[in-house]
Amino acid sequence: MNPIICMTNIVKKFGSFTALDNVDLTVGEGEIVVVIGPSGSGKSTLIRCINQLEVHESGTIEVDGHMVKRGAGLAAVRAEVGMVFQSFNLFPHMTALQNVALAPVRVRGLSWDESNARAAKLLARVGLESHASKYPNQLSGGQQQRVGIARALAMEPKILLFDEPTSALDPEMVGEVLDVMLKLAQTGVTMVIVTHEMGFARKVADRVVFMDGGRVVEQGPPKELFDAPRDPRLRAFLNAILSH
C-alpha cells in the first residue's frame, strides 16, 4: 500500500497546552483509518492538521507527495482532501444542491450546469435526491450531514477526513450517516475518521489508532485493538465506553 498521508513528528500547541506531542501517522492509499481516544486527546487536531485548519508548530506532513504548508501549494492539497465536520458547517444561505455544486465551479472551473448535474447525482447517492432544493435549516441533522458528505465528495478528493461526523446527531440519525460512510469505504477512497462509534470502527476500519494526551498510544487492526488491548489507557478507555 503506497502511503498517501505521511505525518512525521507533528507538534501542535494551544498556548501552553500541547495538543499533539510528536505524533507520527502514515495512512496508505485506500486505507480506512479510525482514530479513537478520550476528548482532548488530540484526535481532531491531528486530522485538522492534514488540511491545515490547524497549523502545526513543527514536523512535516506530506499528502500525496506534496508538502503541506502555508502558501501557494496549500490550495492544491486542500482540493484533494475532503472534510466532513461535526457541526456540518453547511452554507445556510444556499440550497443543498448549491452547497454541493459550489466548490467544483469555483475551484475546478466546472460550469454551473455541469456541477449542478453532478451535485444532483451525489445527493442521490446519499439518498437526498428529493431534498436538493431545500435549505439546511429545512433538513434534519442526519440529512444535513449527508449533504456535508456529498459536498466533500463533489471535489472528487483522494482523501476524506471525518471529524466526529455523528457526534452532533440525535441517536436515531446516526445510522443513516454511518450507512453512507460504510458505502463510501467500499469505493476505495482513503478515509481518516475520528469517531466514538466503536461498532462502526470495528466493522469498517483497516486500522484503529488510539490517541491519549496528544500521542498515538496504540494502533492496529480493529480486532486486535478492541479484543486484546495492550496499553492500560486503551483498556480503561474501552471499559469506560463499552461498559455503560
Binding site: 485548519l53 490550495a75 475532503g82 465536520f85 458547517n89 453547511l90 445556510p92 444561505h93 466548490a103
Partner: protein, 223 residues
C-alpha cells in the same frame, strides 16, 4: 394674523414649492451618493481592518476612529473652508459628498466588521477545507451571511446620512434646508421651513419604520 397665515400659509407654500423640490432633488442626490460611497468604502475598510497586514490594518483603524470621532459639521467646514488654503478647492456638493461619505464609510466599516465576525467560524473552515480562495470565501460564503445580519444597522446608518445632508446648507449647497431658509427670507414667512420639515419627515419616517420592522424580523430569528 392666524397661525395658518404665519406657519401654514398655503399661498406661500405653493409659491415656494418649486424651490423646495429643487432642494429636495439636491438632498436626494447627495444622500444617495454618500450612502453608496459610504457602503462601498465601509466594506473595503472592514476587510482591510480584518485581513490586511499589520501596518495597513493600523492605518485603517486610525482612519476609522478619526472619522467616527469628528463631528460631521466640523469636518465639512474644514473640507470646504480650510482645504482651499492647501490648494484643494471643492464645490459645496463635492465637499459635502466627500465629508458625508468618509464618515458614513467609517461607521459602515464597524457595522460590516461586526457582521463578518458574527459568521460562525465553521463557515470559514468549511470554505477553506473546500479549497475556496479567500476572495470566493468572502463573496460566496461569508458576505452573504454577514450582510443579512447587518441590514438593520446599515439601513439605520443610511437614514443618518440622509439626515446629515442638511448640514451641507452651511457651505451654501442648495439642498432642501438651504432652499427653505432662502424661501423664508424671500417671503418673510416661516411656512417654507415647516414645508421642508414635513418633506424630511415624509421621506424618513417610512425608513425609520422599515428599520424597526427589519430589526423585529431579525430578532424573530429565522436561522
Amino acid at each position: 394674523m392666524s397661525i395658518f397665515d404665519t406657519f401654514l400659509n398655503w399661498d406661500v407654500f405653493v409659491r415656494v414649492l418649486p424651490l423646495l423640490l429643487s432642494g429636495l432633488w439636491v438632498t436626494f442626490t447627495l444622500g444617495i451618493l454618500a450612502i453608496i460611497l459610504g457602503l462601498a468604502g465601509g466594506l473595503l475598510l472592514a476587510l482591510l481592518r480584518l485581513y490586511s497586514p499589520t501596518p495597513v490594518r493600523q492605518i485603517t483603524i486610525a482612519f476609522i476612529d478619526v472619522f467616527r470621532a469628528i463631528p460631521i459639521l466640523v469636518l465639512l467646514v474644514v473640507v470646504y473652508y480650510a482645504l482651499p488654503f492647501m490648494g484643494l478647492r471643492l464645490s459645496p456638493f463635492a465637499a459635502a459628498a466627500s465629508s458625508l461619505s468618509f464618515v458614513s464609510a467609517a461607521y459602515s466599516a464597524e457595522i460590516f466588521r461586526a457582521g463578518i465576525q458574527a459568521v460562525a467560524k465553521g463557515q470559514f473552515e468549511a470554505a477553506r477545507a473546500l479549497s475556496l480562495s479567500p476572495f470566493r470565501t468572502m463573496t460566496d460564503v461569508i458576505l452573504p451571511q454577514a450582510i443579512r445580519v447587518v441590514i438593520p444597522p446599515i439601513t439605520s446608518n443610511a437614514i443618518n446620512v440622509m439626515k446629515d445632508t442638511a448640514l451641507a446648507s452651511v457651505v451654501a449647497m442648495p439642498d432642501l434646508l438651504k432652499q427653505a431658509t432662502q424661501a423664508q427670507a424671500l417671503t418673510a414667512n416661516p411656512t417654507p421651513l415647516i414645508g421642508a420639515a414635513v418633506i424630511y419627515l415624509i421621506i424618513l419616517l417610512p425608513l425609520v419604520r422599515l428599520v424597526a420592522l427589519l430589526e423585529k424580523r431579525m430578532s424573530a430569528g429565522n436561522r
